[in-house]
């Protein structure tokens, strides 16, 4: 009989090993899935994980890694702050959209003025503010009325999607677009584009993601805020006694993640995506949740996890074109990764013991005073 025994402290070795184990298990399960779909599993796995990096066309795919990875890392870094403190912002997708709308609106307002030194910084500020304010809605409602931030932030994703459609069809529509929905192309507007070097996949979002990783590392490891976040996550009561203001922490965590998601959206809309369109958002806000957990909510881990997840996006597209693997299979693949990660995480906090069945009645305590938490 297998029995789980709680470890006094989380195992360090397993903390590092579980994400790798989860990736491995996902590859196996994914291989089975691809085989069930009638594809050669080894070819499929190689197409997804190997070809984008090392095949003969990799010089074409590698820049894409930066393009897809940057928003994931940027959003996931923000989310990790809240997740560590037990504050669940799962509406990053909405904050991403609103950030993009605000950034694009500022850029479009200046069109066709030529002043990159002014317009781009203003767009950055607008994007961050847009995401921040959108995230403040669940934050303030939680602090003031005690509403559940999970549900409110998620509802706001659907509101933001409708807002995006309204904007793409209405106020932000390209006046010279011959009636087609969608705004002017910002990536072709010199003063507003976030591209630095399009052929290398470099845009300001990549730079911002790297800055965010370093900043988050410093805050988590060295700053009092990082200490308060970690303390609140592990023991809210202890945090309250040590003088942490929970309301302030909620607003700071939600605000940070909102601002970073908004930034990600703004960099995307004025660079890789180019314009505000109805189908502008592709689910980065939700995939970033997987990235945050896969990276163990640690900045460096998130950077690596973001790279891996970007790889599955690109490899997935290649597999779609070359092997006719359905797009949904990749989505399922990403979902499976999070599942396996959560499943093997039990090894970090518990030790698996073998126990003979006949000892059980004696070993069973008369009363378990409190559940493990």
């Amino acid at each position: 009989m297998l029995k789980l025994e709680r470890r006094p402290q989380a195992s360090t070795a397993w903390t590092y090993a579980t994400p790798l184990l989860a990736v491995l298990l996902t590859m196996i399960a994914g291989g089975l899935l691809f085989a069930a779909l009638g594809k050669d599993p080894f070819v499929a796995i190689r197409t997804i994980f190997w070809d984008p990096l090392f095949s003969e066309f990799s010089s074409f795919y590698r820049p894409q890694l930066l393009v897809k990875g940057a928003p994931l890392v940027l959003i996931a870094i923000g989310l990790s702050f809240g997740f560590r403190a037990g504050i669940w912002n799962i509406g990053a997708e909405g904050q991403y959209i609103v950030g993009a709308l605000c950034g694009a609106a500022v850029g479009l307002a200046f069109y066709p003025m030529e002043a990159r030194w002014l317009i781009l910084p203003l767009m950055v500020i607008a994007g961050a503010l847009g995401g921040l304010l959108w995230a403040m809605i669940p934050g303030l409602l939680k602090v003031r009325f005690g509403t559940n931030e999970i549900l409110v932030s998620l509802m706001l994703v659907y509101v933001a999607e409708n807002l995006l459609a309204a904007m793409a069809l209405g106020p932000l529509r390209n006046p010279e677009g011959m009636g087609f929905p969608g705004s002017r192309n910002l990536s072709q507007y010199e003063s507003a584009t976030t591209w630095i070097d399009r052929s290398a996949g470099m845009h300001w979002g990549v730079v911002a993601a790297l800055i965010a990783v370093i900043g988050a590392y410093v805050i988590m490891a060295r700053h009092i805020l990082g200490f308060q976040i970690r303390l609140t996550g592990q023991s809210p009561r202890a945090a309250a006694f040590s003088g942490v203001n929970p309301a302030r922490l909620v607003l700071v965590c939600l605000g940070t993640s909102g601002a970073l998601a908004g930034l990600a959206g703004m960099f995307e809309v004025a660079g890789p995506a180019g314009q505000v369109s109805i189908d502008f958002n592709v689910g980065y806000g939700f995939t970033a949740i997987i990235v945050a957990f896969l990276g163990r909510l640690h900045p460096v881990g998130i950077l690596l996890a973001g790279g891996l997840m970007a790889l599955t996006y690109i490899g997935g597209e290649i597999a779609q074109n070359q092997l006719q693997l359905p797009a949904a299979a990749i989505q399922l693949f990403q979902g499976m990764l999070l599942f396996f990660l959560l499943a093997v995480d039990v090894l970090t906090h518990y030790r698996v013991r073998f126990q003979r069945a006949e000892h059980r009645p004696a070993a069973k305590p008369a009363a378990a005073p409190e559940a493990a938490e």
């Binding site: 709680r6 409602l141 989505q331």
Partner: protein, 304 residues
């Protein structure tokens, strides 16, 4: 704009149809949460139920088999959640999110060949003269069978929680799992059963969407209905009859909004489509005073 085109009796009749998927999903989640488990994967289970039900109905050309398939699909996915949270002791919030992401991917994959076809749908009940009664006839006696079934489930859950011994055990496990364990109840088994029931109900709700309400399969067709169901459980303070009220209130907003769109109100459609979500937020703000089950969302491990 012409508001006179909106017929109040038809409005009430159609709000019941609009509310039924959410009502089904919410009553399942209510039982799950009363047992102390927070399953945020309702959206994932609903959409899986929607696609499983649709496939089963298309294959057999029988909507009832479709609903059984929908319930099974939802329940199987829920058991995956039970395995992770009850056996492998994972964090319930994160696992619920994973379940939703997984369910959305799974349903999109399963439903690939089924886009654009029609499934056999449920006919409305026709009780002859009763259904022909003015106003109330269409509302009370002219719905499809699933609407009545959903009301029966609500009543059944209410009676189960209030009067039965098993319901008492379930509530005990939800209020204080340590004490329930000490009394000799198997916390894990009770919770696993509750989770499976919640999954089956969410699956039924999804099946109702793809088989009756729409009735077609499209990717991501639940469009947040599962999350709204979660919100309605909070709104109802974990009480079955208030849940019914909340779901119908919500159905009313949805239907009214659709009617206003059709009636040609001078507001862009997108702003009207936002209203159900905004109303949900508003409702959460106004009604967040209820008391949640004591052990809600906490992991149980019988450690000595």
């Amino acid at each position: 704009m012409d508001l006179s085109t909106i017929n109040p009796a038809l409005l009430v009749a159609s709000l019941m149809v609009a509310a039924t998927p959410i009502l089904l999903a919410a009553i399942g989640e209510l039982v799950v949460e009363r047992s102390g488990v927070l399953n945020l994967g309702v959206e994932g289970m609903m959409i899986t139920g929607a696609v499983c039900g649709f496939i089963a109905a298309v294959w057999t050309q029988n909507p009832w088999v479709g609903f059984v398939g929908a319930a099974l699909g939802g329940a199987v996915l829920a058991l995956l959640f039970a395995l992770l949270t009850q056996v492998l002791l994972s964090n319930q919030v994160a696992t619920g999110l994973a379940l939703t992401l997984f369910g959305l991917g799974l349903s999109a994959l399963l439903g690939q060949g089924y886009i654009g076809i029609r499934a056999p749908t449920l006919p409305r009940v026709d009780l002859g003269p009763l259904t022909d009664l003015p106003v109330v006839g269409r509302i009370l006696f002219g719905q499809d069978p699933m609407v009545y079934l959903s009301l029966l489930i609500v009543a059944g859950v209410w009676a189960f929680l209030k009067f039965s011994r098993a319901g008492l055990v379930l509530r005990a496990v939800g209020e204080n799992h340590g004490a329930a364990h000490a009394l000799g109840y198997n916390v894990r088994i009770v919770r696993t059963c509750a989770i499976a029931f919640g999954g089956a109900c969410a699956g039924l709700g999804g099946g109702y969407l793809s088989l009756v309400r729409v009735p077609q399969w499209t990717e991501g067709m639940t469009a947040g209905a599962g999350w709204i169901a979660l919100a309605i459980v909070v709104f109802a303070s974990w009480k079955p009859w208030r849940l019914l009220l909340g779901a119908y209130l919500f159905g009313g907003v949805t239907v009214l909004q659709l009617n206003l769109q059709a009636g040609g109100l001078a507001v862009p459609v997108e702003y009207l489509s936002m209203s159900p979500y905004l109303v949900t937020i508003l409702v959460l703000v106004v009604m967040s005073a209820g008391r949640a089950p004591g052990s809600l969302g906490r992991t149980f491990h019988a450690s000595s």
